[in-house]
């Protein structure tokens, strides 16, 4: 019988990289494919991760790299979580992404990453617009409910560094206010950067190792140069994960690159337990809430860095609501929403919706009215894409910090605090060259 495939060796650099990820241990049990959301994706029914690994075994590197498969992988890690041989399959897929020429990266992902590399944010929003927005929206919040509030920018010696998401800067401006309300209520000494402020890491989504490092270094430098005590890791699972990966590489090169950071869950718990913010559960009465375990804050973070955040978000939610219900499966076994790894902004919306089907069933079967999430990609997917494709069960979606903000018992600042903030704000906007209409 004529051979259909002629096996050949993978190029040495690829083989070295894959060997470091335990690739050579695979015995094709198929456990990976059985839990993978990509399996049986429409228009890719003949592809699954077990087969892709087998293709690599035969040296079919070009076929894998040129296929859409690495790009429809969300990096959720269910494969590696279950793999009996501890093969780092998500990192193998990441490497396959990295091998694509940049002009062949699907959709807008490379453009966005390049924008961030060149301008400091994915959407190439000019600095003037960014500052104008922060000034204006800050005033809006001050007028609405938080007198004295302003957005501190490049504040030396702040206790907390925070990084905005360009999606919120470009269009979803009101979404920024939840974190702002929490900072106001906690009287937090916080700041955001004026430049290189992007939270989201599309270097991770595009397999661009250089960009992953660059984006992490910008955050390290901002914290170090301004003497900021700690950084809240960006919310997006991909962003905080890319940042964590990048930071690890920089610390290996020079321990002076080590900065203090905490995840948003740890920060919120700190605020709640210390009494710096107070919550009123009654505001959320009458609804059942559930928690969506984000892959990169849970399973993948646990696998690579030894700790995932499962119990912390549940504790926070239980401080805000009386009725919490679990989805099944959950925690490390939870289903991916289908939007990770660049799938939300990527050019495969139907595939992404297909990947999210199991998550939808989990939500539906939980009976929850509100799904709480810790990642902007997860929110977009669960709130916008899945309901368009799965219409039987309706639910709301909230960020966990949105839930906390909505549950706050707000204590307004004193006149003295307001006056001090106004003086600080005036000095800041003058320094930044922003017209500040105090009327």
């Amino acid at each position: 019988m004529e051979a259909i495939i002629t096996p050949h060796k993978l190029p040495d650099p690829v083989m070295d990289r894959l060997a470091g990820l335990n690739f050579d241990r695979c015995f094709t049990c198929g456990t990976c494919a059985s839990g993978c959301p990509v399996t049986e994706t429409p228009r890719m029914e003949k592809w699954d991760i077990r087969k892709v690994l087998r293709m690599l075994y035969y040296g079919m590197i070009d076929e894998v790299v040129e296929s859409p498969f690495p790009w429809v992988c969300t990096g959720c890690g269910r494969c590696a979580h279950a793999c009996p041989m501890a093969i780092d399959i998500p990192y193998i897929m990441l490497h396959m992404k990295s091998l694509r020429p940049r002009d062949k990266v699907p959709g807008i992902l490379h453009k966005g990453a390049e924008n961030c590399f060149k301008t400091g944010n994915n959407m190439a929003i000019p600095k003037d617009d960014y500052l104008f927005l922060m000034n204006d929206m800050g005033k809006e919040l001050a007028e609405e409910c938080c007198p004295g509030f302003y957005v501190p920018i490049d504040k030396k010696g702040a206790d907390i560094a925070f990084f905005p998401n360009s999606k919120e800067v470009f269009t979803d401006n009101d979404d920024m206010k939840w974190w702002w309300k929490i900072f106001y209520a906690a009287k937090e000494n916080w700041t955001i950067p004026s430049e290189n402020w992007e939270a989201v890491d599309w270097g991770l989504f595009t397999g661009n190792y250089e960009y992953i490092k660059v984006f992490a270094k910008r955050k390290i430098d901002f914290v170090n140069e301004l003497g900021i005590k700690r950084m809240i890791m960006p919310d997006c699972g991909g962003a905080s994960y890319g940042c964590r990966v990048g930071m690890k590489e920089w610390v290996k090169e020079d321990p002076a690159n080590k900065i203090h950071y905490l995840y948003l869950y740890e920060y919120l718990i700190e605020l709640i337990q210390s009494g710096r913010i107070k919550l009123d559960k009654s505001l959320n009465a009458g609804k059942a809430f559930t928690w969506h375990d984000s892959c990169k804050h849970g399973r993948e973070l646990e696998r690579h860095f030894g700790k995932g955040f499962y119990e912390e978000p549940r504790w926070i939610i239980n401080q805000c609501v009386d009725s919490f219900t679990e989805m099944e499966p959950n925690r490390g076994n939870g289903h991916c929403c289908g939007a990770g790894g660049g799938m939300w902004p990527g050019p495969y919306p139907e595939e992404s919706a297909w990947h999210g089907r199991q998550k939808y069933y989990s939500i539906r079967d939980s009976g929850a009215n509100v799904v709480v999430v810790g990642c902007s990609n997860c929110l977009n997917q669960l709130m916008k894409r899945l309901p368009k494709n799965y219409e039987d069960y309706r639910y709301e979606v909230k960020y966990i910090w949105e839930l906390v903000a909505d549950t706050l018992v707000m204590e307004l600042w004193s006149d003295e605090e307001i006056a001090r903030a106004a003086s600080d704000a005036k000095e800041q906007w003058e320094r930044l060259g922003v017209e500040n209409d105090e009327g």
């Binding site: 959709g107 807008i108 453009k111 966005g112 390049e114 924008n115 060149k118 301008t119 400091g120 959407m123 190439a124 929003i125 000019p126 600095k127 003037d128 617009d129 960014y130 104008f132 927005l133 204006d136 929206m137 800067v169 470009f170 269009t171 401006n173 009101d174 430049e195 050019p347």
Partner: protein, 234 residues
């Protein structure tokens, strides 16, 4: 790649339904796209104000304005904007304006992008050198925006359609291949159109219409040979 057809024109769209070439935008595009973004009763003056603002900001700065600037410019709240564009700012207003935040990279005060990497210069900053008769001196400076604006300058009714572009592109490609501008008869024969039809498409005529809009001129080859390229490039 998808397409949108309207009034005998075909617009190329990317997989997310955004116009691939912002230079191809015209008002017909916006009208034709409107139902697809949830606007079923036609575009009102309020819609047009927003779309024109987005496009003029893009022309001046090379980037799509953030939603706050658009709202402030028109005294709209976010909810007002949502009512006008139910699909949202990016997937509604910007899409109808033929733009997205991915339309161009942009130089910023803190990071200048090398020209070779930044893409086309914003229209407001572009310079085209024309002779006293209004013909582009250097055909290499031509682009589709030049053609669009030259057509308006010649007071052609309506934007350039598919047939116009076919003729323009044919003359340019023939010039590039042969260093010669095809005659009106050669052009008509090659494209299977008759002289009357061409006259209707380009009322200013072949030389003062087609050739002018295509950024060519009869002296172009001689001028290029005489190193007019020594003049500073834009």
């Amino acid at each position: 790649m998808e397409t949108l057809k309207s009034n005998n024109k075909t617009y190329l769209l990317d997989n997310d339904g955004f116009l691939v070439n912002p230079g191809q935008w015209d008002e017909d595009f916006a009208e034709a796209m409107a139902p697809g973004v949830g606007i079923t009763d036609g575009l009102t003056p309020s819609h047009w104000e927003v779309l024109r603002f987005i496009r003029s900001t893009y022309r001046e700065t090379g980037s799509c304005p953030i939603v706050l600037k658009t709202c402030k410019a028109h005294n709209l709240s976010f909810k007002d904007l949502q009512r006008l564009f139910p699909s949202g700012y990016q997937r509604g207003a910007c899409k109808l304006a033929g733009l997205s935040f991915m339309a161009e990279g942009v130089s910023t005060p803190f990071h200048q992008i090398p020209q070779s990497l930044s893409g086309p210069i914003p229209l407001g900053k572009r310079v085209y050198r024309v002779n006293v008769h209004g013909f582009l001196i250097d055909p290499n400076e031509w682009d589709e925006d030049y053609a669009t604006f030259k057509a308006r300058e010649l007071q052609m009714s309506g934007p350039l359609g598919e047939k116009h572009w076919e003729i323009i592109r044919y003359t340019r490609s023939e010039f590039e291949k042969n260093d010669e501008i095809p005659t009106v008869y050669e052009t008509c024969e090659a494209l299977g159109i008759d002289i009357d039809e061409l006259a209707e498409l380009f009322p200013s005529g072949y030389h003062r219409g087609v050739i002018k809009i295509a950024g060519l001129n009869l002296a172009a080859k001689r001028l290029l040979d005489e190193l007019v390229m020594a003049a500073p490039m834009r």
